[in-house]
């Protein structure tokens, strides 16, 4: 009887510490999440948002977004955007992490300095790249033209064939330092003696990379890839500020489409349906991610 009483007493104090934050997140994130699922099965627009006159319409909204066509483009764009961004961020981040892992004098300082690109508000980054990618005055075209690499200015943000890649470039720039940082930590935890004996056996840089570094780094790489996917898949600011989804939907992603349905067209239920598809995909990825890190968490 006594130990149980003790347990309840200590637990009670624990809840006082823990619960406020949990309740805060449940009210501001958990409840809206469920609300949004309900919303996606109703017929809510501006006329009945604040009233009780809402009807359940089954999967009607999901059918509508499929039929309207932009949804399909957005899914494909979001996937291209995410995969390309993450791939380049991880590769460049890895190369930079390897470079800075050679402990020269300024390595730590310079590596830290690169974080600036990650800390700048995305709205500012997007505006900055919009400026640099301007077709006439933009520094990108000016330099490429001066170097005779191109003969005509590239319509970075005005050409539907190029625009998606332009927003991807901006996003890669944002994410490189973060990937580099995580991979640096991974690299520094690798055992040194394996490399020493490989060097004694005459292994070159490439062989060490393929046979030692990558296999040992696999758990860290997987975590970085998953995190990158999760954070990139929900992209909003970069696309919204740089192109607003255009030209002709060529950069429309799921977040911007959901936002456009809800807050430009005020078709809240259609927006909710798009957002839920986004959420469902992320949820599955998150579950896989959580399984991967569960061992470390010890919960």
């Amino acid at each position: 009887m006594l130990p149980m009483w003790k347990e309840i007493r200590t637990q009670w104090k624990g809840y006082v510490f823990v619960l406020p934050a949990v309740i805060f997140m449940l009210v501001l994130i958990g409840y809206p999440l469920i609300y949004n699922i309900v919303l996606s099965f109703q017929n809510v627009d501006l006329s009945n948002l604040a009233t009780d006159d809402k009807q359940f319409v089954g999967f009607e909204n999901y059918r509508t977004i499929m039929v309207e066509g932009v949804f399909g483009i957005s899914v494909v764009n979001t996937l291209i955007y995410t995969v390309a961004s993450v791939l380049f961020q991880v590769i460049i981040g890895f190369l930079l992490a390897s470079f800075f892992s050679m402990k020269f004098k300024l390595a730590g300082f310079l590596r830290g300095l690169m974080m600036i690109s990650w800390l700048i508000p995305l709205t500012v980054t997007a505006l900055l790249f919009k400026f640099m990618m301007g077709s006439k005055e933009g520094i990108f075209n000016q330099m490429l033209l001066n170097a005779n690499l191109i003969s005509e200015p590239i319509g970075w943000l005005s050409s539907p064939d190029v625009a998606l890649w332009s927003v991807i470039i901006a996003n890669i720039w944002v994410g490189i330092p973060f990937n580099m940082l995580l991979l640096s930590t991974g690299l520094s935890s690798l055992p040194k003696d394996v490399y020493e004996s490989a060097s004694l056996d005459g292994a070159n840089w490439w062989q060490k990379l393929i046979h030692i570094t990558l296999p040992l780094l696999k758990p860290v790489l997987l975590v970085v890839l998953m995190l990158g996917f999760i954070y990139t898949f929900k992209v909003f600011d970069v696309v919204y500020v740089m192109t607003g989804g255009g030209p002709i939907n060529s950069t429309e992603v799921l977040s911007t489409l959901a936002f456009r349905y809800s807050f430009s067209d005020f078709e809240f239920s259609l927006g909710a349906a798009v957002a839920n598809v986004l959420f469902a995909i992320l949820f599955i990825i998150s579950l896989i991610y959580l399984r991967m890190i569960k061992k470390d968490e010890g919960v």
């Binding site: 949990v22 809206p32 609300y35 020269f104 700048i120 330099m143 999760i230 949820f283």
Partner: protein, 272 residues
Amino acid sequence: MSKRKNWILSITGIVIVGLFLFPVYWMIITAFKTQNEVFQTPPTFFPQNFQLDSFLTVISGGVGQYFLNSVIIAGCATIVVLLLSVPSAYGLARFKVRGIGLMMLVFLVTQMLPATVVLTPLFVVFNNTGLLNTYVAPILATATLGVPFSVLLLRTFFMGIPKELEEAASIDGCGRLRAFLQVILPISLPSVLVCGAISFFFAWGDLIFSITFNRDQELWPLTAGIFNAIGRYGIEWNNLMAFATISVLPVIIIFVLLQKHLVEGLVSGSVK
């Protein structure tokens, strides 16, 4: 490592970082150029007629109010985050609370959630509670970005503190709360600062919550102001870049002050 190699690597490093951060340099120097010089071919890599007019233009265009709003929103959001997440992380690290796995899951999942999913429901909730077009709406919404991150980071930190410290304190007659306040908090200050800074950055960078919940321009933060200025200033890039430079300034100052702690904290807070 030989002195020569050290030099070569350092110079290579400076070149790489210089190239990588070129956009930031380009932003700052464009702010000091005249409108004519911005459109000059070939482009100038340092302002020929160094001038402050763009800064004066955006300041008279109301950048001060936006700045103040950003400080209010991000500052309050940071306070909310710390008040909630420090005790919560401590509880999760020290008490054998039932359902701890479930609560950890709440934080892990909410950290990964896209803002668009909660946007409309929050809009309705804030509308019903009369919080639309107030500072409270973006403060609460942006605090949800910092809480999970901070809880997860600080929990890892608290678990690393030896239990003996609090036990010694309780022998001295301290209660649990006092032990937490007087023993644990002081030694956790660097980690708490990191969480505060990151939460501040999250809130400072928010665009979507502010433009959705506040139609009233008087309450807009810098990010919303910039987005709006794109329409107002068009291709007056020197003005826009002055606006951008002002928005980035506080972030860079905080970063420089806390650099070492921030880099370490970011790693442990993001992976867990």
